[in-house]
């Protein structure tokens, strides 16, 4: 099912990872070793974002931030975006970040 995300413009890779960071399934322009590394990175980054969001909520008392739904990190040519336990690697010139985040949110609820 997540393979459908590759049909979006500019989506180069999509992965589904387990709560322990292991790769469940991954598709796109990366070999298996790189898919596993992307899954591990996304899992670690997710936990780090969770930790920082918990602290932000704790210090400010503001509702609506924790638990975080997702994150993205934008580089010059590529962006890594994640919602839930899904992560995509996209090309900035071809992909619509809004569309990818929206589709990831939907797919993460399957």
């Amino acid at each position: 099912m997540i393979r459908n995300l590759l049909a979006l413009d500019g989506v180069l890779v999509v992965c589904h990872f387990r709560d322990d960071g292991a790769l469940l399934e991954g598709y796109g322009m990366m070999d298996d070793a790189m898919l596993e590394r992307l899954a591990r990175f996304a899992h670690d980054y997710k936990r780090m974002v969770q930790g920082n969001t918990d602290q932000f909520s704790m210090f400010t008392g503001l509702p609506g931030w924790a638990p975080p739904r997702g994150w993205n990190v934008r580089g010059a040519q590529h962006t890594v975006c994640s919602v839930g336990n899904l992560v995509c690697f996209i090309d900035n010139t071809e992909a619509s970040l809004n569309e990818v985040m929206r589709e990831l949110t939907e797919a993460s609820q399957y």
């Binding site: 920082n52 602290q55 704790m58 210090f59």
Partner: protein, 112 residues
């Protein structure tokens, strides 16, 4: 004697390095026999910049929420590995062997 020479002179030091505010390596010394590379030190420099930024957020939040001062401004961060630790502030860092590491001397040397 430069501050990097002071740092590399600490007991058990295998590298000393200097970096920009955004974490790019600008200068370094590696002790004889160490296989640390400039690329690794550049990554460690970014580790310092990232962790000092997070620790600053924590210190600000802690002081505002609890009223207890004494953590801000953050003066340094140490990452402890199994055999090695790296001690740094926002400008410089040093890699030390854990069994002989003197963290207090390292923090004092970093301020110099």
């Amino acid at each position: 004697m430069s501050s990097l020479d002071n740092l590399i002179g600490l007991e058990g030091a295998s590298a000393a390095f200097e970096f920009s505010q955004s974490g790019e390596l600008t200068d370094h010394r590696v002790a004889e026999g160490s296989d640390l590379t400039a690329e690794t030190l550049d990554l460690l420099a970014h580790v310092f910049v990232a962790n000092i930024a997070i620790a600053t957020m924590q210190a600000r939040g802690w002081e505002k929420t609890t009223g207890q001062g004494g953590f801000y401004p953050i003066q340094g961060f140490t990452l402890v590995g199994f055999e090695w630790s790296t001690v740094g502030n926002g400008r410089r860092g040093v890699v030390l062997r854990n069994d002989v590491a003197d963290f207090e001397a390292a923090y004092a040397a970093l301020e110099g």
